[in-house]
Each structure stands twice: as structure tokens, then as C-alpha cells.
Amino acid sequence: MAHGVTDGRAAPAARAPAGGVRAHARITAAPHARGGTALPELAGDGPLALRRIRAGAGEARVCLVGAMAGPLGGDRVRLDVRVESGAALCITSAAATLALPGTTGEPARYDVRLTVDDDAELRWLPEPLVSVRGSRLHVTYRVDLAPTARLVFREEQVLGRTGEPSGRLISRLTARSGGRPLLNQTTDYGPGAPAWDGPAVLADNRASGQLLVAAPEFADTPAEAYVLAPGRAAITPLAGPATLTTAMAPNSLLLRTLLDDAHTRTTDTRRSPSGADGPAVSRG
């Protein structure tokens, strides 16, 4: 499978001696002198090409474009994003990211670091990550939020293309808010991962995702816990100023429907997730 996708990749010179691509892309968003958000740094690298797209109100938008197929086994791809005080940035992607097997059997690594300063906002809304049969990918997200930073972070994992067994996909999310731990979670799915498709972890679902929404208002008024879909999705207030929606579904389409619903319910911090008016109430 790896042979079919190497054609569209960068020149052989971009490959490190160990057999994988090494790439480090960077985005910095800062307030523009004339209002809105500027992008003083927008540096794609290797498989991560970055395109500035139509801006929203006050918000800069960047689309991650897969310049090559991948990540392939052995690749090490890193993306650093910083949103400085007063800026707002939204990051999307042009298409789903496919984790593909390499020729060496070595796992690929994709490390994302997101830093959001005070009074800044980041919306991280890429398309799903698809774990293709035979692939091995370790993803890490490291999120550092200043006390008044705002974040919407969506992660979607699809375990195998239609009718295909999953590859191995290990994902770790470490989020800190004001220097304190906010959320720390690792998932480990696919062949070799213990009990991942059993009744405690994913059961027979093959798409898994989460939506983390952090806002300073949650510090005083945490959202209430809400079961969005029995056995499928729940919105939960974290111990810190954020809500997490945990969701799973048989396929990526149904997963997106659940996360879109959660997005509507959790980004308006003046309303409770159940849809009731008035201040949100926390049980935990």
C-alpha cells in the first residue's frame, strides 16, 4: 500500500537517512495593527503545507493542506501553533489525514503543540485522522492555555477506511490551563492495543472523537454534565475551566453529527448543554 502513495511525496532529499520525513511547521497569530489577526509566521514544511484562507470577523484562518500523502511509517512531523494575546485563529484541513504504513514498519509521529495566550482564541477543527490498515502512528497534542485563553479543539479518529481493519493509532492529549493540568488522556486503538474493541473502551464503534472547549467563564460557572447520546456521547465539565465531549460512533459521519451537536451546545457558555435557559449547573 505504501508503494502507491510515494509518487506524490517530496523529493528524496527531504527524507532523513533513517527513511522518514522530518518536518517542522510553524504558525504564529498576533493582533494586526489595523485590527483583526495577522500571521507573522506561517511556515509549512514537508507534508504540512499551510494556506491562509478567507478570514472571519477578527479571526485569521489557516488550512492545513496535505502536500504529500502521509504520515507514512518512520515520518516525524511537528506543528507548533501560537496565538498571541488579542488574536484569534482558526485551523482547518483540506481533507482527512491518512496514516499509512511505511516500508520499515517503524511508527510515524505527529506532534502538535498549541499555545494560546491570554485574551486569545484558537479553534482547531481539522478533518479526521484515518488509521489505514497496517499503519502505526503516535500522535501527541500538547495544549498550553493562559488563564483567559479560549479554545475549541476537535479530534476525530477513524479506525480503518470503509470495510478495512484499523492500523495502530496511539494518541495522547495533554492540556494545561494557567500552568495546571486540565486534561491528560491517552487512547490506544488497533491491532496490538489491549482490549480496545471491547465493552469498556470502544465496543464495536470505529470512529472516536472529542471536543474540548475551554473558556474563562467555565471557571465560575461550569457547564452541567449531559448525556448527548446513550452509549455514544457525553458532555462533561472538567475540574478546570473547560468542557469535554467524548463521543464514538460506527462511522465518521455519525461521529461528526454528534460533535457538531456538542459544539453548538458547549460553545455558548451562557446556556446549559441540555438546552435549558439560565445559568448552567454543575453536578461534579
Binding site: 491528560n184 488522556q185 491517552t186 482490549a195 465493552p199 473502551v201 446513550p230 462533561t236 467524548t246 461534579g284
Partner: protein, 239 residues
């Protein structure tokens, strides 16, 4: 000399006392999520119970065991409590962990009085996550990190097992066979948790956050089901 992984004989007996289901720490009122899994049809027989327990062992079990091992190895329990919060997105499970932590601390202060336990109760009157208390308790009982990890993991699988016997009328012999079959995996996970806990305590001594690099293995279905269970009418178990 016994091999280093085993506690000295006096402490081995202490481990039996601490891990005994009859230790008065309130664990019997909790099913470890099994009640909801049974209600949703995800556990219907011994095979389902085993798959459920295996999943719990490698996710929430590993995470709890590593926290317990780190606390036993001397990492700051209050920072570990924050680390436990960050690993527990479900408010129902955070409340359960604190309630069980309070009850365990009370029982432990009677069984193995220690200044460390008094200090913990004073610092967090509303309770500390149960695995963190378990680690400090193991330390007070003269046990080591790998013992603390064993106690946490045994509880992670024995709770759902005894609950399932009651909920499904499962044959107790079959249920015990499930626990016996899980023993080798439990040993493996305990060794990993103890190693991670030891490293975390060492990190803590250098001023780093002891919780940052501890395992954070999560099981999304356990978190979702815990919220469903919390609002369920006519529950037999508290969690």
C-alpha cells in the same frame, strides 16, 4: 532475601488486609461501571465480563495503579490529585473517586496511623482521589509501589466481577475463574505502573510536575457510561 518485587513477609500480610474486599473502605457499594455495562447489554456472560475487565485493567486500571505507585514512592499527593482530576473527565467518576478516597483514608488512619495520612486529611477535607490515598496508605502499611499498583488493579477488576455476580446471577465459580485468567495481565500492568510511579516520584524530587508523564490511558466508553449511570433511577450500585 526475597526478590525485590515482593514485600517483606510482614508487609505481605498488610497487602492482604489492604486489598481485602472486606476492608471497610466502601468499595462494595460500587460496581466499577459494570452495572451500566450490564444494563446496556455490553456484559451478558463471563466472556463479556472478562473482556470488560481486561479493558478496564489496561486503561483506567493502569492510570489508577500508576497514581497509587507514585504516591507510594513519595510523590506529592496533592499534585497527584490534580493529575488524577485531569485524567478523569467524568464529574460522576471524580465525585466517586473523592468519596472512596475519603472512606479509605478514614479506614487507613485507624489501621496504620501515620502523620502523612493526617496531613492529607487536613489538606483536603473533601477528599483526595482514591488511588492517591491508596498509595499513601500502602506506604503507611510498609508496602512498596508495586504493591500499591497491585491493590489498585485488583480492585479495578474485582469490583466489576463481584458486582456482575449479583447483577447477572453469574456463577461465582465462573466469575472467580475470570479473575484468575486476568492475573498474568494484572502482573504485567502492575510492573509498568510501578515503574512509571517510581519515575514520577523521581521527577517530583527535581521540582517537575510528577503527574505530567504518568500513564493517562483512557476508556471513552467508561466515561460516557459513568454519566449515564449517575442519572439512572433504581441503581443497585453507587457507580
Amino acid at each position: 532475601m526475597p526478590p525485590p518485587s515482593l514485600p517483606p513477609p510482614a508487609a505481605r500480610a498488610a497487602l492482604l488486609v489492604l486489598a481485602d474486599g472486606r476492608f471497610p473502605a466502601g468499595g462494595h457499594a460500587h460496581s466499577g461501571g459494570a452495572e451500566q455495562a450490564v444494563a446496556a447489554g455490553r456484559i451478558t456472560d463471563a466472556a463479556g465480563l472478562e473482556a470488560y475487565c481486561r479493558g478496564r485493567l489496561h486503561t483506567a486500571g493502569l492510570t489508577s495503579a500508576a497514581l497509587a505507585a507514585a504516591a507510594c514512592a513519595g510523590a506529592d499527593p496533592l499534585r497527584l490529585d490534580e493529575a488524577a482530576d485531569a485524567r478523569t473527565p467524568s464529574p460522576a467518576l471524580r465525585a466517586t473517586a473523592r468519596r472512596l478516597g475519603r472512606q479509605l483514608l478514614r479506614a487507613t488512619r485507624a489501621a496504620w496511623p501515620a502523620a502523612e495520612l493526617d496531613a492529607l486529611a487536613e489538606a483536603r477535607p473533601r477528599g483526595v482521589h482514591q488511588p492517591v490515598v491508596l498509595g499513601v496508605a500502602a506506604r503507611a502499611a510498609g508496602l512498596g509501589p508495586v504493591d500499591a499498583a497491585h491493590a489498585a488493579l485488583y480492585e479495578a477488576v474485582s469490583g466489576p466481577t463481584t458486582a456482575t455476580v449479583r447483577l447477572l446471577g453469574l456463577d461465582p465459580f465462573e466469575a472467580t475463574a475470570v479473575l484468575a485468567r486476568l492475573a498474568p495481565a494484572l502482573e504485567d500492568v502492575a510492573a509498568r505502573a510501578a515503574a512509571a510511579g517510581g519515575r514520577a516520584a523521581a521527577d517530583g524530587r527535581t521540582g517537575a510536575d510528577p503527574g505530567e508523564l504518568l500513564p493517562a490511558a483512557s476508556a471513552p466508553l467508561l466515561d460516557i457510561a459513568a454519566e449515564e449511570h449517575a442519572v439512572r433511577a433504581g441503581r443497585l450500585f453507587a457507580s
